[in-house]
Amino acid sequence: MKNKLIQTLLSVGYFLAGMLILIGIWAIISKITKNEVPSPTMTLEVFKEVIKQPFQNDADVKGIGTKLLSSLGRVGIGFTIGSLLAIPLGLMLGSSKIMMNICNPIIQILRPVSPLAWFPLGLAIFKDSPQASIFMIIICCLWPTLINTAFGVSTIPQDHKNVGKAFGFSTFKYVTKIMIPYSLPHIFTGLKLSVGIAWMVIVAGEMLSGGSGLGNFVWEEGFNGGSVAKILVAIVIIGVVGLLLDKAFSALQKKVSFTA
């Protein structure tokens, strides 16, 4: 019990030390650039201002919270649809060598394509930029989940398969009691990677598409509005939210992991 407390305090300590170093470097850069890059304290002032009315949602003025939620919403929709496509497909590819051999070249060609390249295609298909952003998120969420799920399924140990054979498991029972539980940690690795990429890509997408969202905040209010501090505020928010998403998925992954 005492050990655990010390452990927690230590990790908090390490985290704070890291943050202090980061802020220190930031302050030095700010000094060198003669406040061209705003100092941490200046940025904090702007941050306080920005979050005064976070959920303001008027036609022409939208709060940072509203923008954050709209970005998260798009990531959520795109990630959900992408995952719902990728998981079953991955289960299929992992369990059939033939399917894998046919689909592997397709995946290898499409996977390295920058998610942003899909944006204009989405725009051409949907004629709507928020929908095009979601389309882009769907595509970029496919690959990590697909590949990790297929890998998980293809590495099911013969021992587990033999249990299914020896006790006459139906296909449904095999899928739900052996295939999916075994692959779940791999699936969650894929999901974690996917959500990380989606979160990176949405900001870029929203810069391209205009409209609402954090990307729009960075571009319109930050760069075009001539406030570098706002850009920094957005970077901090994007980073913190990304970290939280990653932590959440890590926790979920831990939950579905098993000890052999």
């Binding site: 021992d159 033999n162 249990v163 020896a166 006790f167 006459g168 498991f169 539980p181 098993f258 000890t259």
Partner: protein, 284 residues
Amino acid sequence: MTQTISQKNQQIADAILEPVLNDDAINITNVTVSFKTPKGIYTAVKDINLQVKKGEIVALIGHSGCGKSTLMGTISGMVAPTQGDVTANGKTVKGPGPDRGIVFQNYSLLPWLTVYKNIYEAVDSTMKNLSAAEKKELVESNLKMVKLWDHKDKLPGQLSGGMKQRVAIARAFAINPKVLLLDEPFGALDALTKSSMHVELLKLWNLDHREKTIVMVTHDIEEAIFLCDRVVVMNNGPAATIKEIVDINLPRPRNKKDIVHDQEYMRIHDRLLNLLIDKFSIED
């Protein structure tokens, strides 16, 4: 024309009567198993003939890699013979089936399911005509039989090797197979646990009126003598054959402590040792 019909009738009659007339639970006829490897065809076992009677306990014994697990695999249906055929309970073995319960070498419990669920899923898929309540009762009685009812909600990772082994045995018993196949079931256990598991296994076999046929793979001579009616000694592979079948005519119930002083026990022990080991000391 009439002849072909009567021939056909004869075949049908044979097919119906076979399980009744044939007392053998397992019948291995001219079985050869070969595998394709990158270096060519590897023959694991060759021309094996073996009959096991209902209610008999038989051990397959031999050095590592002599193909005893492969031979066992042809009975369980996990390995298809290249030549010859295997019948179990009157039917040709074409794949694994619920009439043959398997206890795997490494327990093979599903690590994400609790002890209870591990057994329940096996019962659920093999005993389709039972009601949910009957299935639950079956799981409960088998878990109590191996004295693990208190641990039913634990995951396999939280159990010791001996406990995992008992879960695997309870799972195999729960589906009430006519034939029980044990692949080095006690290999990973310490001597004390192993010894008590032997007694447990025989207890279960007795409770079942000694009607279950048990085939086990082992390389433990004492274990084979204590448990079995016959011990099948295999030659070294590749293309392993049966070297000799040794009968164990020791009366049951056998007492673990007393049996080792029995003249017959010592004779069999010596015989098996001679069959398995060529050199007994190093040459100076």
